[in-house]
């Protein structure tokens, strides 16, 4: 029996916290070592290079007054290219309409660029405010000196410094030269704006890419192009861990437009979170020729040890193993005693299938390898990570690798893995062409880093006082860690953190156990990760607990949350404490008061308890993930075996809400994303291969059956901001199941749901 002693850092890469010192230091690197990170260039003879005020790596202001803010995080639909730069712009007092947003290359000078785990705003809100405020203070200092007035009589707005008393104003551009000569203020001198002075933070700001997207000008990875570019389509081994025995390229090369056929050597097992699968690539003049060439290609495979894998059989086996004693992961009190003295015991097993990300843009990347250098255009969530892997695979210094981050046509965790980028780079190196690798939809469905299937058994006990006296949660799923170490059989503490060992309810006996589940596929992470099956099991079981206690489901949860308090779990967790999404529990406590507040608010908004016609009902679930508190109510109208979802209600507390419209859109989209796996999607394996091929076999929700109205309430807060990309997902499916139960009397223990 083995499980990885890792933590969330290993799953989600480093949680690097840039301090003010870090980014100022970084700024000095950028500006060629000039003191304190302030750089200044005169116009050259051609006038091509304007002078720049560059107080930190995220901001430059030209003498032309143009404010450029670096978007160093990846845009994949969450709106971060808009929402993080606006934080800096607000503190600076920039004219947002005229701010230029520039996508950053992969570079440590920007700090963490791994766009994953719903932490962009959480990690960079403060540094971006400080970056903006620092620049503002320097511009104000320059203006005040010019005018011979006190700095505290000056303010900024619309990219100008204003002196209210005299009515004077001067543009940022005119201050660039003077401001650049000033010393960067000490940390203690930085004065952040008062909340009531925010112009952008806390309001609804449209995304900066809206027009380009609507007019077809937005450039995704699959749209990248350079002169002389060729297209590669790869035939990959259908079973993870298999390899190429031999291949015959003759028929492929006979297809007009096919140029080269090149083998890509895979790592075998472990498949890793970065390397390409074993396969044979067809490089052609265009995508169609490459696809036709691949069809004609003949490959003999050694399918390896996973060739007999059958996912239905694995589920059947896991249903048996979760009945046994597992490895204790969190223990409070004595569950055995609680069960022995219980008045009522409820026990169920919950099953969820493998899922594919199915981003609308399939993986695609363009690489040019020339003169010992590599240049890549890729839709990557993790540009620095991709660069590091390329350095290793190509045997190059990191400094010789340039990663341009395009827009992502969806990410959801898939595009944090650079395997498809490595394919492009290896093929570019081998062929000498600039190569764009394009995955077809079938490739994407067959060869994803899947969200792994899950089998969980929960035993809840109710005592003679009608209290929930015991909670025993058994969990089995192939671990993400097994993708890099095949000996790992049980979930890591990082995976258990995602909605299992942070079980937040006041129950005297808690026993959370895990069981072996061997991985036969590439397991990755998908939007909210293990929160999906863990929240499903917990929140649907708690609905049954409410019924058994004769309580309203909302009142039951409020009761189980108990008094207002900050929870800690660390001392009850058997393997190394509670990771708390990479933050200390002191900085980001688990506050029951905030959870109760969102629950009460959503109940109010949904008019919980209202009478609905027969066949219609409301269902409720609440789940905290990625440090954000979420409560959800789903309204259903059940017609036989189908369901309409007229309304979804969310209340959430993510601390300070930076861009309210993008928070709402993440929750709207999160409900739809969850509706897909709750009602439609499943990946199954037979003989080691994925059974589904495209959107006919692997279904995602379509407009007619999708939730019709999604109401999102953001709690007013000045607390530190937390993530919103993933938190809407976990509570939706259990709220839906609870609603279907309320409408039909049928409990649902398996996703996608049938009743």
């Amino acid at each position: 029996m083995k499980y990885a002693k890792d933590n969330i850092q290993e799953i989600k890469a480093d949680v690097f916290k840039p301090s003010r010192r870090d980014f100022l230091k970084a700024g000095s690197l950028l500006s060629g070592g000039l003191a304190l990170g302030v750089s200044f260039w005169s116009c050259d003879s051609k006038g091509a290079k304007t002078a720049l005020f560059e107080p930190n790596v995220y901001l430059t202001i030209g003498t032309d007054g143009i404010v450029t803010i670096m978007a160093h995080r990846t845009e994949m639909g969450q709106g971060i290219r808009t929402s993080l730069p606006l934080v800096l712009a607000d503190e600076l007092g920039a004219d947002w309409e005229k701010v230029n947003i520039e996508q950053a290359l992969a570079d440590e000078k920007y700090g963490d660029q791994n766009t994953d785990g719903s932490y962009s705003i959480r990690m960079f809100y403060k540094p971006f405010r400080e970056a903006g405020a620092t620049a503002r203070q320097m511009l104000v200092r320059a203006a005040a000196a010019k005018w011979k007035v006190n700095e505290d009589e000056c303010s900024t707005a619309k990219s100008e410094v204003l002196h209210t008393a005299s009515g004077k104003s001067i543009s940022f551009g005119e201050l660039v030269e003077d401001a650049s000569k000033l010393e960067v203020p000490e940390a203690s001198e930085i004065q952040l704006k008062a909340v009531e002075d925010f112009e952008l933070i806390g309001k609804a700001t449209p995304i900066v890419d809206g027009h380009n997207i609507a007019s077809g000008k937005a450039v995704y990875g699959i749209d990248a192009a350079v002169e002389g570019m060729k297209i590669a389509v790869v035939k990959r081994c259908p079973v993870v861990g298999g390899s190429v025995v031999s291949f015959d390229a003759e028929k492929a090369k006979a297809i007009p437009g096919v140029l080269e056929v090149i083998e890509i050597k895979g790592p075998g097992l472990p498949a890793t979170l970065s390397k390409p699968l074993s396969g044979v690539a067809v490089i052609a003049e265009n995508t169609w020729a490459a696809i036709k060439g691949r069809e004609a290609l003949e490959v003999e495979w050694d399918l390896g040890p996973n060739a007999t894998y059958d996912s239905d059989q694995q589920i059947a086996e896991l249903k048996e193993s979760v009945k046994k004693k597992g490895t204790d992961r969190r223990v409070r009190g004595n569950f055995t005693q609680a069960k022995a003295s219980a008045k009522k015991v409820i026990e169920h097993t919950y099953v969820a299938p493998h899922l594919a990300h199915a981003t609308m843009e399939p993986p695609a990347a363009l690489a040019v390898v020339k003169d010992g250098k590599c240049e890549v255009w890729a839709p990557t969530q993790n540009p620095q990570g991709a660069r590091d892997v390329l350095a290793e695979e190509l045997g190059m210094e990191k400094g010789n690798i340039t990663i341009h981050v395009t827009l992502l046509g969806g990410g959801f965790g898939r595009k944090s893995k650079p395997d498809f980028i490595v394919e492009a780079a290896l093929l570019a190196k081998e062929s000498g062409y600039p190569v764009k690798v394009t995955w077809t939809r079938e490739d994407d469905i067959h060869h994803d880093y899947f969200h792994a299937l899950s089998v969980q058994r929960v035993v809840a006990t109710i005592d003679s006082q009608n209290k929930l006296s015991g909670w025993n949660h058994h969990i089995a799923y192939p671990s993400i860690s097994a993708t890099t170490d095949t000996s790992v059989l049980q979930p890591s503490v990082g995976e258990m953190m995602l909605g299992a060992i942070d079980f937040a309810y006041q129950v005297p006996a808690i026993q959370i156990e895990t069981h072996d589940a061997k991985s036969h596929l590439r397991v990755g992470w998908l939007r909210s990760v293990r929160n999906i099956p863990q929240a499903y099991a917990i929140c649907t079981m708690l609905d049954e607990v409410a019924e058994a206690r004769g309580m309203d489901p909302v009142q039951n949860i409020l009761d189980l949350l108990g008094e207002d308090q900050n929870l800690t779990f660390a001392e009850e967790i058997t393997d190394g404490g509670y990771p708390n999404y990479g933050e200390s529990i002191e900085d980001y406590p688990w506050e029951t008061a905030r959870m109760k507040a969102v629950i009460k608010k959503v109940a109010e908004d949904a008019n919980w308890g209202r009478k609905l016609p027969s066949g219609s009902a409301l269902g409720f679930a609440a789940h905290k993930s990625f440090l954000t508190y979420v409560a959800c109510i789903v309204e259903v109208k059940v017609n036989g075996s189908s369901v309409e979802i007229p309304n979804v209600y969310y209340a959430l507390d993510c601390g300070t809400g930076v861009n309210t419209d993008r928070i709402k859109s993440q929750f709207e989209g999160g409900a739809q994303f969850a509706a897909s796996f709750a009602l439609k999607s499943a990946i199954t394996f037979k003989e080691g291969r994925v059974v589904q091929n495209n959107f006919d076999g692997y279904e995602i929700i379509r407009m007619p059956e999708s939730p019709k109205n999604i109401h999102v309430h953001i709690m007013e807060s000045t607390a530190k901001p937390t993530g919103v990309g993933e938190p809407p997902v976990p509570p939706f499916a259990p709220a839906l199941a609870n609603a279907i139960y309320a409408a039909t009397g049928k409990r649902i223990y398996e996703m996608p749901m049938k009743w």
């Binding site: 639909g77 609507a214 169609w288 827009l407 739809q672 994303f673 007619p704 019709k708």
Partner: protein, 151 residues
């Protein structure tokens, strides 16, 4: 291989392509009109939607040899400056998240409104059911379309 002269967005393009090459790849790879997106290659997701004589087709499953002299409109040609009422509504309603499927959504919606300028909510849902959005922007797509049809 054959030579095709295609009428796209009011312009004439001549290109050599095998007759079974889907219009999608002619547009994207041969003519560098990349606003039309590849999603599934099987007519299942609608990301590649363009107009053929004003009607929505899935260009990923439409061979170039079947186009003939019929006029094609892609997202690049839907309006002069990206200011078709739907393109404006898409921005006003903050529809796009990642945006990848949205050119196909807009082309499909534009064909719908040409056929049926005042669709009901149910008619919109039915007409748009072939266009997938993984980010889940369906509620805003619907309100953007209805806002244009109500103008």
């Amino acid at each position: 291989m054959a030579e095709y002269t295609l009428k796209i967005n009011g312009k004439s393009y001549t290109t050599n392509a095998p007759e079974d090459m889907p219009l999608l790849w002619v547009l994207r790879d041969l003519l560098e009109l990349r606003g039309t997106k590849f999603g599934c290659g099987a007519g299942l997701c609608g990301a590649c939607t363009v107009h053929l004589e004003g009607a929505a087709i899935r260009s990923c499953s439409f061979p170039v040899s079947a186009v003939g002299s019929q006029a094609i409109t892609t997202i690049e040609g839907l309006s002069e400056n990206g200011d078709h009422p739907l393109q404006k509504a898409w921005q006003e309603h903050g529809v796009p998240q990642c945006g990848y499927c949205q050119t196909g959504q807009i082309m499909n919606a534009a064909a719908l409104l040409k056929q049926n300028p005042k669709p009901s909510e149910t008619e919109v849902e039915k007409a748009m059911q072939g266009n997938l959005c993984r980010c889940g922007t369906y509620t805003r797509i619907k309100s953007a379309i209805l806002s244009v049809s109500n103008d």
